[in-house]
Amino acid sequence: MDTLTVLSIIISSSLFAAAPLIFTALGGVFSERSGVVNIGLEGLMIIGAFTAIVFNLTFASTFGAATPWVALIAAMLVGGLLSLLHAVASITFRADQVVSGVAINFLALGVSLFLVKMLYDKGQTDIIKENFKKVDIPVLSDIPVIGRLIFSNISYPAIVAIALAFVSWYVLFKTPFGLRLRAVGEHPMAADTMGVNVTKMRYIAVFISGLLGGLGGGVYAQSISLDFSHATITGQGFMALAAMIFGKWHPLGAMGAAIFFGFAQSLSIVGSSIPFLEDIPAVYLLIAPYVLTILALAGFIGRADAPKASGTPYIKGSR
C-alpha cells in the first residue's frame, strides 16, 4: 500500500466517524456558550437516531434516495423538542443542569426503546435501505492529490458538518446574536442590564443544541449503525461533549477535536490493516480520546475554561 492510499483511507474513515460528533459537539457549544450545561447530548443523539431510522423505514418508498436527508430534518425537530424539556427544567425551574441532562438521557433511551417495541414488536428495528454512503464528489475529486485525499470516498454529511462548524463560528463570533448568546453565558446579569433577554437567549441556545444533537444522532444512525437498538448510541454524545471541551468551547476547536476523535475511532477499526499501527493493541486506540481529553483538561495541552456562568441558573436580582 502506498502512503497516499493509506492516508486517503485514514482521512475518509476519520471524517466518516467524525461527522455525527461534529454536529453534536457544535450543539454543545451553543448550549454551553449560553450558560447551560448539556450532558443530555447523548439523549438528544439517541432520540435523533431513533427518529431518523423510524422515518427512514417508514418513508423510504415515498422519498427514495432523498429519504436520509428528509429523515434528518425529522431527527432535528424531535431533538429540538426534547431539548426544550431540558430548557424548561434547567432555565425556568432552575433544576441542576447536570441532573436534568442525565434525566434527558434516561428519558430518550426509555421513550425510543418503548416506541420501538410498540411499533415493531421487537428490540431493534430493521436495517434501513436508503443510507448515507461514501461517494466521490463530482469535479472536486478530480483535483490531483487533494481530490483523492479529501474529496473522494467521503460522505456528504461530513462536508456539511465541516461547513456548519464555520457557519457556527461566524454566527457566534461575528453577529450580534452570537455576542448576546456568549454574553448571557459569561455574565448574565450584565447582559440583562444591557437589555438582553437572558431566558429567551438560553432557550434559543438549548433549542439549537437539540436540533444539532438530533442531527448528529440521525447522521450516525443513517451512516454508521443503519438500525436502531439499545446499543446504537453508546457514548457518542459524551464523546461529543468531550470534543466540545477539548475544543475549548469554540466551534472550530470542537470540529478539530471531533475529527481527531473520529481519527482515533477509525484507527481502532482500520488500524489492523495499516502497516505500522497493526502492532498497537486496540485498547490504547480505544481509550486515547478519553485520556487525551483528561490531559487537555488538566492543562497539559493548554488551559480550557468553561464559559463563566455555565451551570448556574440565572435568577433575576440575585447577586
Binding site: V102, G110, F238, A242, V283, I287, Y290, L297
Partner: protein, 347 residues
C-alpha cells in the same frame, strides 16, 4: 414550609408524578395502566422468588447510590460510579479467581480489592479537581469509558485467553447464600444485601458523627468558608472522591462475587452506576433515603421484566418512569412552588 417536610414531600410527590405520567403514557399507547402496574407489583413482590430478585437488584443500587450521595454531600458530582463499579467488579473477581485462601481471608480480600480499585478510579478525578480545578463531571465521564475498555481488554487478554468471560470465582470468595436460595425459591439473592445495609450505616456514621464527615459536609456547603475555618479543602475533596469510589467499587464486587460470580465483556455500561445517580437524588443524598430509593428502583427494574409477560406493556416503560422521577426531583423548585400554592389555598 419546613425543610424536613419538603425533604420528604419532594421525593414522594416526584415518584407519584412519575407513576401517574407512566399511567398516562400507557393509556395513550393503548395499554391498561392498572394491569400494567399490577404486573409490575407482582413481578417485584408477587412471591418469594421475585422478592429475592428485587432485593438482589437493590444491593448494587445501595452501593452506587451511596457513592453518588457521598460525593454529593461534599459538593462533588460523581458520574463516574459506573466506571468505578466496573473496575471494582473486575478487581474482586480477579482476586476471587486467582487465589486459594480460607474464606475468612479470601472474601474480605476480594472485597478490599474492589474497594481499592474503585477508590483509585475515584482518586484521579478527585486529585485533578483539588489540584488543577478540573471539573469532576467531565473527568469521571471520561474515566467511565477508560474503565470500560481497560476492563474488557484485561478480561480478554490478561485474565483469560481471548474468552468472553473469566472463570467463576472460587467458593471461598463467593457471596452466594444457600440460606437465601432456600427461602427465596432459588433467586439470585446473596449475602451482599447485609453488606449494603452495613455500609449505609457506616456512611451515615462517617457523615453525621465524625469530624471528617463534618468537614466533608462543610466543604460541600461552602469551600471558601471551610478554607477560612482552617479545613484542608483539597484533602477533603480527594478523600470524598476516594471514599465514593470505594463504595462504587464494592457495588461492583456485589455483581462480581454475588449476582454473576464472574466478570465478562461489556459492550456498553451496566447502567447500575447511572441508576445510582437517580437513587441518590431520590434518596435526598442521605443514607436512609438511599436505601429506600434503592428498594424502589430495584422493585421497578425487576418488576418491569414481568410487565410484557402479564400485561403486554413493554418493560421500557419503567425506564421512562425513572427518567421522569429524576426529572421531577431535579425540578424540585417547581414541586416546592406547587406545594406552597396548595398550602396557601388551604388557608
Amino acid at each position: 414550609m419546613s425543610k424536613r417536610f419538603s425533604n420528604i414531600a419532594v421525593p414522594v410527590v416526584s415518584v407519584l408524578l412519575g407513576l401517574i405520567a407512566g399511567a398516562i403514557i400507557m393509556l395513550i399507547s393503548g395499554y391498561n395502566p392498572i394491569n400494567g402496574y399490577a404486573a409490575l407489583w407482582n413481578g417485584a413482590f408477587g412471591d418469594t422468588f421475585y422478592l429475592g430478585e428485587t432485593l438482589r437488584q437493590m444491593t448494587p443500587y445501595i452501593f452506587a447510590g451511596l457513592a453518588v450521595a457521598f460525593a454529593f454531600r461534599t459538593g462533588l458530582f460523581n458520574i463516574g460510579v459506573e466506571g468505578q463499579l466496573l473496575v471494582g467488579w473486575l478487581a474482586a473477581v480477579w482476586v476471587g479467581v486467582a487465589f486459594d485462601l480460607p474464606k475468612v481471608i479470601h472474601l474480605p480480600l476480594s472485597l478490599l480489592a474492589a474497594a481499592a480499585a474503585g477508590a483509585l478510579w475515584g482518586f484521579i478525578p478527585g486529585f485533578l479537581k483539588a489540584r488543577l480545578h478540573v471539573h469532576e463531571v467531565i473527568v469521571t465521564i471520561m474515566m467511565n469509558y477508560i474503565a470500560l475498555h481497560v476492563t474488557n481488554h484485561l478480561i480478554r487478554n490478561v485474565i483469560s485467553d481471548q474468552a468472553d468471560a473469566t472463570e467463576a470465582v472460587k467458593e471461598t470468595a463467593s457471596l452466594k447464600s444457600p440460606f437465601f436460595e432456600s427461602v427465596t425459591d432459588y433467586s439470585s439473592l446473596h449475602n451482599g444485601i447485609y453488606l449494603g445495609l452495613i455500609v449505609a450505616i457506616i456512611m451515615w456514621f462517617i457523615l453525621e458523627k465524625t469530624t471528617l464527615g463534618y468537614e466533608l459536609r462543610s466543604v460541600g456547603f461552602s469551600q471558601h468558608a471551610s478554607q477560612y475555618a482552617g479545613m484542608n479543602v483539597n484533602r477533603n475533596i480527594v478523600l470524598s472522591m476516594v471514599i465514593s469510589g470505594a463504595f462504587a467499587g464494592l457495588g461492583g464486587a456485589m455483581e462480581g462475587l454475588g449476582t454473576f460470580g464472574n466478570a465478562f465483556l461489556h459492550s456498553g455500561f451496566s447502567g447500575v452506576g447511572f441508576d445510582g445517580i437517580a437513587v441518590a437524588l431520590l434518596g435526598g443524598n442521605a443514607a436512609i433515603g438511599v436505601v429506600l430509593a434503592s428498594l424502589l428502583f430495584g422493585a421497578l427494574k425487576v418488576g418491569a421484566l414481568n410487565m410484557p409477560i402479564e400485561s403486554g406493556v413493554p418493560n421500557e416503560l419503567v425506564e421512562i418512569v425513572i427518567a421522569l422521577i429524576i426529572f421531577f426531583v431535579a425540578s424540585s423548585y417547581m414541586i416546592k412552588w406547587l406545594l406552597s400554592r396548595f398550602k396557601k389555598e388551604e388557608k
